[in-house]
């Protein structure tokens, strides 16, 4: 079960990843509807999932949190958000939700909470994110949050039997601040 609430949105919470969440993460990392768009193309067993959780303990450069729904009882994990390389000028973020929770705006909400945390807690110049083209869901999340399309890496990755483009997005601090004012 996920740990303490770290940040809170209107409908979702971001909670710490606990050892018992290995099974949940493993499910996401193996489900082709999640893993293929994420660029994960190797199977992961439970002990690998466990090891990767333990590897991140004490890691101050990467932040991993579970996206959860709260209904008064135990939280229900529905996905994961991730901030990578916090020592970089523009750290990278990524996110996934289990397929049955797509289409409800949870991805945008969870990512917005993560973006706010990143800019508020860390003196970073900006954030960046990548997605395979076409990945309308993922690109939609980024565009909802004001990310700018900075370009497209042609034929960048092999997936699903062919080379696909990777779209590249960036959000600079002042663009994030402007978007905050608009809210």
């Amino acid at each position: 079960m996920p740990g303490a609430v770290f940040r809170r949105g209107d409908r979702v919470t971001l909670r710490t990843v606990e050892h018992e969440d290995a099974e949940f993460l493993q499910r996401g990392h193996n489900d082709p509807d999640v893993a293929v768009p994420l660029g994960v193309n190797m199977p992961e067993n439970e002990s690998e999932a466990q090891a990767s959780i333990e590897d991140h303990e004490g890691d101050n450069l990467n932040v991993s949190l579970l996206v959860c729904l709260e209904d008064g009882g135990d939280p229900t994990p529905i996905g994961q958000v991730y901030l990578m390389d916090l020592h970089h000028t523009r750290p990278e973020l990524s996110y996934w939700l289990l397929p049955e929770y797509h289409g409800n705006g949870y991805g945008t909400e969870a990512t917005e909470v993560l973006v706010d945390y990143a800019f508020n807690a860390h003196e970073i110049r900006g954030l960046q994110a990548q997605a395979f083209a076409p990945n309308d869901g993922s690109v939609g999340v980024l565009e909802n949050l004001g990310f700018e399309h900075e370009g497209t890496l042609r034929d960048a990755r092999f997936r699903d039997g062919e080379y696909v483009d990777v779209v590249w997005y960036g959000l600079l601090r002042e663009e994030w601040e402007d978007a905050e004012v608009d809210d």
Binding site: T89, R90, G126, G151, L153, R154, A156, Y163, W168, L172
Partner: protein
């Protein structure tokens, strides 16, 4: 001194990087005219550079070459009574003697075991403006597509590096992404451009 010739262009040769080239290569991690455009923001001492050399130049996933001018920029022919053929074949076969070759820079291609290779290059400032960089980069691109099965090659250049951006475009690389303000370099945030050339474009 660099090792034997691996590949030969019209004017430049690619020679293996040897461990006693550390001091030469260290210039790419000290001279700001070289290290800022390369994105090497921290200077390195000889021991650190030597470690980098062993990690990169001696890694099977990387092609690492010294860009050299042989025989005082092609004066081999003049010193060889047979007309140069013998001299250049000897140079290919063995380690060069002092004075036989001049190191002017380096070319690296990372990721040659994968489906995408990453090209980088630098020349000592004294050798800029002679077309050596373009010749070396073109040679590295051809060599990589000929000797590996990579699907494409990528390269990066900062916004302040017009020379390198022009060079990549002249080789047929296309600008894919402008990553805004991605590094703090020499007093300001700078954009980094990512370029790529796919095998099918190279073949044309």
């Amino acid at each position: 001194m660099p090792g034997p010739v691996v590949e030969r262009g019209e004017r430049v040769t690619f020679r293996t990087v040897e461990r006693d080239d550390t001091e030469f290569l260290q210039r790419a991690t000290t001279d700001p005219r070289i290290r800022f455009p390369l994105g090497m923001f921290r200077h390195r001492n000889r021991a650190q550079r030597r470690e980098q050399l062993e990690a990169h130049a001696e890694n099977d996933d990387v092609y690492a070459f010294l860009v050299c001018l042989d025989g005082e920029s092609g004066s081999e022919a003049a010193t060889d009574p047979t007309g140069g053929e013998t001299a250049s074949h000897d140079a290919t076969a063995g380690h060069p003697d002092e004075g036989e070759t001049t190191r002017i820079g380096a070319v690296n291609v990372h990721g040659v075991d994968g489906d995408r290779a990453f090209l980088s290059y630098w020349l000592l400032p004294a050798y800029h403006g002679e077309g050596y960089g373009g010749e070396a980069a073109a040679l590295a691109v051809d060599y990589t597509f000929r000797t590996t099965s990579v699907h494409g090659m990528s390269a990066g250049a900062y916004d302040f590096n017009d020379e390198s951006r022009g060079l990549l475009q002249s080789l047929g690389f296309e600008e894919d992404v402008r990553v805004r303000e991605t590094n703090y370099v020499d007093g300001a945030y700078h954009d980094a451009y990512t370029y790529s050339l796919l095998r099918r474009e190279w073949a044309d």
